[in-house]
């Protein structure tokens, strides 16, 4: 079989079980696909055929992902492998340890396959902020793939990886998944260990899967989820068998439609597709109810205060002392700090560090950080109220628009920040959410919808998503490359 790269993990695992193929063949197929298309997409920062093949030869005797190549966003530490957050300041950095998710993937037989491009330190919504090069959208290479996990979304969309993992701080998995026409999920905060994820905003970051369909998403999340004693924010709640939720049946399921997410000015094609998806689920027996998340309008402001505050502190360690980039011939200590960070960080990183430093500085803390913390609780409370009222899921668009043109919003940070308007509240609340394809624009760009669940109820999201996917074929379309 020469098109193994186009299959899902579920399909490949079936073939591996029957021994009609072997892991090396999958690696070869996906690698040669990447060789031929990544010139256009630029989704990978590092991809090494020999390394992947040698990993495929050295697999555990069994495992839920045995032989499946999984691409990894460049902010997740892989022992001995370049891990740079697509930043000059970490150029050449090879961590001496594996992230917990990497250990889990390896123990289930996944083949760690290449590091994917991203917005520097996950700061961005377009994947144009990498210090290496921008990644492009496989559906239209004049457009962005979304960010910050744009590389992971694009390589799955372009069949250059079977699965990928990314991180989501304000929508960085769901928004690019939506714009690239794949499935992407941000699990409940605390569901997946953050140990080894180079922090952007610790209280918001969460690692999650990119896959071609819902079944694969349930499979991959099942592997990476679970309590980790190395991460004090991980929660000791048993991981259910997500596959058991994959039912083509939503009868009696109550799905909330928040009015704040369907407002004047949003893209008409996006709105139409999402409304059609709602109608489909209703037709399958789901109960559709109007709900309200009244503090939605404050989410972006709250997010950019809290996320930048944490980021300014998390990025302080890149000071040129121990690892990564250090400026040439510093005159003294202060000069080393200033030039190392001045030369090492890109514009967006500097913008956020300065913003975060400002909101934490004495005299401003109460007005900004503390106030934002309080509003965050109100936003979380909004979600709790909706789920308390009996909703199983909330359904919204993932992104207000389809993929925009490269460079279109680069000069206007604020318009870029609004790309995550539908995804940010979920991170502030800590609840899980998934984005999946729900249509295409007339111009052929993917449209995504977002399913939001209650804390640790990823299973219900998978149920609704699987029922929808089983009755549509958006996920089967592939970009022409």
């Amino acid at each position: 079989m020469d098109n193994l790269y186009s299959l899902t993990a579920g399909e490949l695992l079936g073939l591996l079980d029957k021994k009609t193929i072997n892991p090396e063949e999958i690696i070869e197929s996906v690698y040669s696909r990447a060789q031929s298309v990544d010139k256009k997409i630029k989704g990978y920062l590092n991809l090494d055929r020999e390394k992947a093949l040698s990993r495929a030869k050295d697999l555990p005797s069994s495992g839920k992902l045995k032989g499946i190549p999984v691409a990894v966003k460049d902010n997740i530490c892989v022992e001995g492998e370049l891990t740079t957050c697509a930043s000059k300041i970490l150029r050449g950095f090879k961590p001496p340890y594996n992230a917990t998710v990497i250990e889990k993937l390896k123990s289930e037989g996944a083949v760690i396959f290449g590091k994917t491009n991203m917005d520097e330190f996950a700061f961005g919504s377009s994947c144009e902020n990498s210090s290496y090069f921008p990644t492009l959208n496989p559906w239209d290479t004049s457009r962005i793939p979304g960010g910050s996990s744009g590389g992971s979304a694009a390589v799955v969309s372009a069949d250059e990886a079977i699965m990928a993992i990314g991180s989501d701080t304000g929508g960085s998995i769901r928004q690019p998944a939506s714009l690239c026409g794949v499935v992407g999920m941000k699990p409940t905060y605390g569901r997946v260990s953050r140990y080894g994820l180079i922090a952007f905003a610790s209280s918001l970051d969460q690692i999650g899967p990119f896959t071609k369909d819902i079944k694969d998403a349930a499979l991959l999340l099942g592997v990476i989820a679970g309590f980790d004693e190395k991460d004090s924010t991980s929660v000791n709640v048993p991981v259910p068998d997500y596959a058991s939720y994959l039912k083509n049946d939503v009868k009696g399921m109550k799905i909330g439609i928040p009015k704040e997410y369907f407002v004047e000015g949003m893209d008409k094609e996006v709105e139409a597709s999402v409304r059609e998806a709602i109608a489909l689920l209703k037709g399958k027996g789901a109960q559709i109810v109007d709900v309200s998340l009244p503090h939605t309008e404050y989410a972006v402001a709250v997010y950019y205060i809290l996320a930048t505050a944490e980021a300014s502190s998390n990025l302080a360690r890149f000071d040129g002392v121990q690892y990564g980039y250090r400026c040439e011939d510093p005159a003294n200590l202060l000069d080393m700090y200033e030039r190392t960070r001045g030369e090492g960080f890109g514009a967006e990183a500097k913008r956020r560090i300065i913003l975060g430093t400002y909101v934490l500085s004495s005299g401003y803390y109460d007005a900004y950080y503390l106030k934002a913390q309080k509003v965050r609780m109100l936003i979380k409370n909004d979600f709790e109220q909706v789920f308390k009222s009996g909703c199983d899921c909330i359904l919204t668009p993932t992104s207000p628009t389809p993929a925009f043109k490269v460079g279109e919003r680069s000069a206007d940070p604020l318009s870029m920040y609004l790309s995550d308007i539908f995804t940010i509240s979920v991170n502030l609340a800590g609840v899980p959410a998934l984005s999946m394809p729900c249509g295409f624009t007339k111009g052929g760009l993917p449209i995504g919808m977002q399913l939001i669940g209650n804390f640790f109820e990823e299973g219900k999201i998978f149920n609704a998503a699987y029922a929808y996917e089983s009755n549509t074929d958006w996920h089967k379309r592939s970009p022409k490359l």
Binding site: P95, R194, S202, K230, S232, T233, A316, Y337, S361, S362
Partner: protein, 477 residues
Amino acid sequence: MAYEPVIGLEVHVQLKTVSKMFCGCTTGFGGAPNTHTCPVCLGFPGVLPVLNRRALTEAIRVALAVGCKVSDKVKFHRKNYFYPDLPKDYQISQYDEPLSENGRLKIKINGGEKTIKIKRVHMEEDAGKLIHEEGGDSSFVDFNRSGMPLLEIVSEPDINSPEEAYRYLTDLKLLLRYLEVSDCDMEKGSLRCDANISIRKKGGTGLGTKAEVKNMNSFKAVKSALEFEFERQSKCLEAGERIIQETRLWDTDKGVTVSMRSKEEAHDYRYFPEPDLVPFTLEAAMVENERKDLPELPEARKARFIGALSLTEYDAEVLTQDKDTADYFEECVKFYNKPKIVSNWLMGDVSGYLNAKNLSVRDSKLKPQALAGLLKEVDSGKISGKMAKDIVIEMLDTGKDASAIISEKGLAQISDTGELEKSAEEAIAENAKTAEDFLNGKDNALMFLVGQVMKKTKGKANPAVVNKILRDKLSKK
């Protein structure tokens, strides 16, 4: 004009846990630079802290011992500042909700007592250490100390003299040693002290502008630095100058404090809640368990020594000034129930020997049971008190039992009346004048005769027996 100093102390204590505050690395002292490190205490990208439970319980014990109210919530903050020995460029510490607040420490001063209020006791992690190349312009960082668990014990500005500061530190150290939570070794940096000092008119209230003094590496240095600062600030005010708020460093060699930075250059630490450590509730039962588990503290022990063991205030004070000595004393009393006698021996011959050899009582070869054995030999009359003084030195030197030494050297007292009677008769015959004196009422004369008998028996005679024999013989004359 007469001034008085107003002093508050910030004491940093390194806890004696096996592993560091937020990772599994050893807290062992020494080790080649950067060998006691891991990605967590090196602050590598992606790593996360996990609180050491042992550090928490030790911190709670200290908080309880100084009478603080322990908070029901454990919460950490980040204190952000750039420094090459601070691997994350922020320190995980506690800020608006410290582990504990509102305690006190009673100190002994000028024959009386004074209570110093303790503002707070909180937990934090230590930084690494910079090593500056001698004669060169390079600096090196050793992260072995990075992430060591520290307690910060902050007093209220209740201290009004350098002597009080010295006593406060001494008594605090004693308390910490009793709790066995730290070795409190200033040379190894496991106890460090910063002082805030301002001055005001004697007897006044209110606070003047303070200076913070750092870099003092002994209690004596703290006292000297505070004396210097008091003088400096007094002269400053006398000259009509204004005192500026600043951080000053103590220069031990020159005996002066020098300005390090003024308030204008002070840091904005941008504290905010540490998002990697979720706040959690301390269970009241756990705190109560620690409270029940607290050892008897110096004050209580001293009171018991005076009350139950009938020691003098002075003896009790000296014995409880060091936990090992007090433990040793009690162990000995278990085998030989005459506390005053044990106390005399411990404070006399034994401590004299140990001090001369610079040994601690715990390292001594003389075990409490053996000392008790020696004292029993004296009581039984087998040896004299004077002989015991020689024997104890040998016991300290060799670790042998008293009985072994006595039999090896044939030191047992002669209580055999037959042999002693012969010597006594000789002594009376050789000193007829003295015998006469005794019979004429000079009691002292008998002591001379006893001495003569002791001489004849090379000190082995039992003086009590000799005394009795001499009296008998003389009375028959």
